[in-house]
Assembly symmetry: D3
Homo-oligomer: 254 residues x 6
Amino acid sequence: MTRILLFNPNTSNDVTDLLVRVARPSLSPGSELLHVTAPRGVPYIATRAEAAIASGIVLAVLAEKEGSFDVAILAAFGDPGLGGARELMPVPVIGLAEAAMLSACMLGQRFSIVSFSRALGPWFRDCVAMHGLLDRLASIRLLDGRFASLNTVQDEKEDHLVELALAAVEEDGADVIILAGAPLAGLATRVRERIPVPVVESVVAAVKQAELLAALNPKKASAGTFRRPDPKPSLGLSPALEKLLMSKPGATQS
Amino acid sequence: MTRILLFNPNTSNDVTDLLVRVARPSLSPGSELLHVTAPRGVPYIATRAEAAIASGIVLAVLAEKEGSFDVAILAAFGDPGLGGARELMPVPVIGLAEAAMLSACMLGQRFSIVSFSRALGPWFRDCVAMHGLLDRLASIRLLDGRFASLNTVQDEKEDHLVELALAAVEEDGADVIILAGAPLAGLATRVRERIPVPVVESVVAAVKQAELLAALNPKKASAGTFRRPDPKPSLGLSPALEKLLMSKPGATQS
Amino acid sequence: MTRILLFNPNTSNDVTDLLVRVARPSLSPGSELLHVTAPRGVPYIATRAEAAIASGIVLAVLAEKEGSFDVAILAAFGDPGLGGARELMPVPVIGLAEAAMLSACMLGQRFSIVSFSRALGPWFRDCVAMHGLLDRLASIRLLDGRFASLNTVQDEKEDHLVELALAAVEEDGADVIILAGAPLAGLATRVRERIPVPVVESVVAAVKQAELLAALNPKKASAGTFRRPDPKPSLGLSPALEKLLMSKPGATQS
Amino acid sequence: MTRILLFNPNTSNDVTDLLVRVARPSLSPGSELLHVTAPRGVPYIATRAEAAIASGIVLAVLAEKEGSFDVAILAAFGDPGLGGARELMPVPVIGLAEAAMLSACMLGQRFSIVSFSRALGPWFRDCVAMHGLLDRLASIRLLDGRFASLNTVQDEKEDHLVELALAAVEEDGADVIILAGAPLAGLATRVRERIPVPVVESVVAAVKQAELLAALNPKKASAGTFRRPDPKPSLGLSPALEKLLMSKPGATQS
Amino acid sequence: MTRILLFNPNTSNDVTDLLVRVARPSLSPGSELLHVTAPRGVPYIATRAEAAIASGIVLAVLAEKEGSFDVAILAAFGDPGLGGARELMPVPVIGLAEAAMLSACMLGQRFSIVSFSRALGPWFRDCVAMHGLLDRLASIRLLDGRFASLNTVQDEKEDHLVELALAAVEEDGADVIILAGAPLAGLATRVRERIPVPVVESVVAAVKQAELLAALNPKKASAGTFRRPDPKPSLGLSPALEKLLMSKPGATQS
Amino acid sequence: MTRILLFNPNTSNDVTDLLVRVARPSLSPGSELLHVTAPRGVPYIATRAEAAIASGIVLAVLAEKEGSFDVAILAAFGDPGLGGARELMPVPVIGLAEAAMLSACMLGQRFSIVSFSRALGPWFRDCVAMHGLLDRLASIRLLDGRFASLNTVQDEKEDHLVELALAAVEEDGADVIILAGAPLAGLATRVRERIPVPVVESVVAAVKQAELLAALNPKKASAGTFRRPDPKPSLGLSPALEKLLMSKPGATQS
């Protein structure tokens, strides 16, 4: 049985519930879905500053949960703290953006990212650059203006988001659309018939990529840039994170 | 039930058998594996010229099989004819190299491709460039010298290939190793303990990416650069391919 | 006497005739123009799938004609099968797009490609990328809508094509215009006075680049990525191509 | 009077003292140097995970100190949390790596980064990429092996570091050398005569770039990707950071 | 005392006077400002041809003044002859564009260059490329149409230039604005309140970067690509330049 | 009759004679070869500083000769002043490096530049970058050490240059070799049999590219970045150059 940890780095439990609802039907028989919500931070990470704040919290939560999962999904599009998590954890960790973008690459030459808030733009772009995928990016298209709540934004803005997707196809040359951001989970299925190119549902992509990684069953790197760092003392961090930083490479891996 | 067509664009049936043997254990319960071997071409595609020859044959075989599969794997590392197949087919098509490389991206920053014949170098490099992944490539390392047969090359050269992988990690900065080429299918599992970074088994990666694409259930693009081309007459091609080229977009899609 | 083979990979004899008519006046006294039309394929290659089909046919025709020419021009803008042909042939082979684009580089910083069918876009872009010239590309501008016939498209659409060229100069920053596609051969001369930057006639560029290569008289590479591949058996290919693939490097070169 | 905050994101007070000692002589008469050491984290940030942990702590400290400085220097080569700090703070924030690299650009075409621990490599490379300066990077050269203590590493390893610098010049084509990492502060002056190209002292570069930013007296962006984010509630963060995240753009700016 | 030579490669003395007026208030107590105007060339360098003409004159003037300054500023945005000057001179030389662009990099992710004449576009773009900063460039926006005189262009066009800056922020994604060109010296201060992102005053940036280089006190490279070339005879050049070309590396350095 | 001006921007008449001797046999019947040697400058341009000096002299000589030629070759590998010349002249101007590199692109994927003096490296690299061809460059390999004279360097160093070429093929992945620099004119023909990949003779490439440009008969751009600049007064330049700068676009063109 593969234990997949769906980890929402935002503090919004409703969004976690939504992610779980969308993720569950795509699980293979051999997979089990666990979930956790960030206990600290912001309800919805949207900026570089908020992503910086989330990065350390991501590591603290993963340190806390270490040993209870076989692969983790960082379920915030933008993948805060992904590099550090991949370095520190003995098991694979993937990002929601990473999973969606790599999956989109198999469905066309260039993808567009469509989401509900202009504030997300700089962080999303940094994320695409971090993954070395700028050449595959057609555009990032974001809604301007306010929305009533995270829980209902996908209903409230459905038509506007479809319009952005159509503009991305017609004006920016997108072959594939990614509806980005945890609060839009599940929307891809609803709007797919209104968009003339494939639409990637990020949560499904993440679950299946997690299963792929479990199937590949990669050993933890003891060389290369994602080898576990040497043990290091620390000051004022959470006990679990402090312990993980001090542990010897290999010691935490079963 | 998802019907996955494992299509070997090489003419070597033994290699097809090997691919099927390695692929089968990684299938999910809901997946069925079909296979086909190229009826024309060369036993093992290795050069730009051989890839050019294979490209048209790939389309002819896929046209012949159209309707009998839900997703196809082009099982030659180098992905001959992939773009054309993706454009023409109503269902997803992925390449063995593409699947392996995108999977490797989730396990480290840069991967190295290791294989058994120097002749493969230029084609492999073109393939990485085609997928826009040169920034993620640490190196391509290839064995020099002859080998006894395709069927036994992975046994004969196992130690040499491990040495190349170690050199890629130590000298080229590889975070991940891809043992590339259909004749090396299954080798990753055997040598993983001798290599200090994750080793991607391409065939497993391809099967799981095929299942991912089936789960995403993308519609066939009617816009963007992978929309079906308009109907076109042709001269001297196989009946199935001629018919497919003449069909109206959407007509072949269930 | 330099024997230049003008090879039309499309099946349309009328287009071949046009190409020959435009090419002939630019021949130097020491050059002789031969020509051949693809016996199989499509009347006009426009998509990735059609280019994939053409690639193998290109090699089969060149294998058939081997020994009868000193340099070959692949006269379809997009250069299908060029890499394989360059690898396999003992004499130089150039593409129509390659010749036009490299020539354009000497007349300005960035060029735009203008042609008559939207379907050509993805293939043209792949071609520019293959030649490593994306930094020199200002834009690809293509007509939308149908045209009466390949033979008359340059007359029918002359004004529209000039408008696209003007837009490329004014809006995209083009220093040079390439009117791309074999059916537009000869148009550059007719419209040059209506366009405020240099216009490259691809066929003339290709003839003169062919003469340049003949003057350089390069030896066939026995090293590097365009060395002749080792002899290889094949299945079901044309006798000439099968024989060429089986021949020893150097054996076919005078 | 310009108040420059020298902020050491590492927890090592000795390193802070060293930074201050090296920085002070380069201050202009109109500048005042303040300093602060991270109260939580690790003694010396070296990996992606440690940088992720530091990112949030950097913002918390800057929020705490907000109003008491006119420009801040993040004095860890690697610039943890820089983007978020630049976004959130009403005054300029620069990184030690950023200041050193941009200064090096004025002294040659390509620079090499030389430091004392192999563990720093991946993070340093990510940092160069984040600043868009990979084309200006000749190499990163790092010492292997252990050192006695952070406080004395520059003395202990002086000769080895000079050897790395010489190798960077001779083998990698470096026009300029950056001795990177806060524990090497002051070393550049000592070894400059032994290295045949300019050596950048990062701390001096940072102080003078801070003065430059003060002289430019830039207004806080209210548009673009570094505009202050909208007010946002948060959970479990430090009071100062929570308050800053909830403040209206402009409210904190005098 | 640091002697900073502000060198105007244009022949317009009025522009030199303006540059000096804007530069002087930003000088630190330990700095002294010298100035010189090109005795030959054009009143305002704007094109590749004019920059080519200026390049040699720049070296002749610097050779003439050699020994009288500690750092030089090439005060024409576009930095004509900068590479040659940096190679030949025993002391640091920086360009106005270089100083402004590197300073802008610390204030945002991407900058736009705004100036008063369309003719400047190609040269400015070449300059950004020469410095390897194209990834940090949001756009170059230039006024079309004539202006009354260089001396008054910043007054005459103030409103139009602000409009361009606003368009660069809103449409091109600029985080920072550079008002480029010596005749616009001083304008940044006047219009900063009308532009919602930081505006870089190039002259101030250049003076402070000059002081930074003086503080770094770099030795003249005797290796790398900016080492002094070997002595070389010449024909028909100015006596000072001829002498400098013939001098031994190191001989001119105090 | 096409009048081709072979313009040696070096002051060495012997090199001009050599260039003419190598160029003449490759002329087509309809071409006439004129030549001119720079009256001022250095015997052999090798550095950024010398190229900067040459740039203005190139324009002065071309202005002097304007009207007497139909296409000009700047016969110094490195192409000093090429952009300015292309902008200012009513007829095409090409560079020796440009012609050689673009020709090499048709003979392989990547080329190496081999020459006789280490001093040439930085300038050559800048030249490749200026032409946007860094992706096609395998390496630049240069001899270290002194040579007796420019006139005999190709004889004296023949074996060493062949060794560099072989190393470029074997170690750097070069598909094509360019023996660069006017003093090496003619060497390619002599050593071609000793090098296992095509060797480009730059002078022949330049003559044939000049004939190609004449055949294309491009009009002078009145738009784009190579349009003639507006008339401009100047100070202290040669009468011909002053007159050309003051002339109206179009006035000098027949």
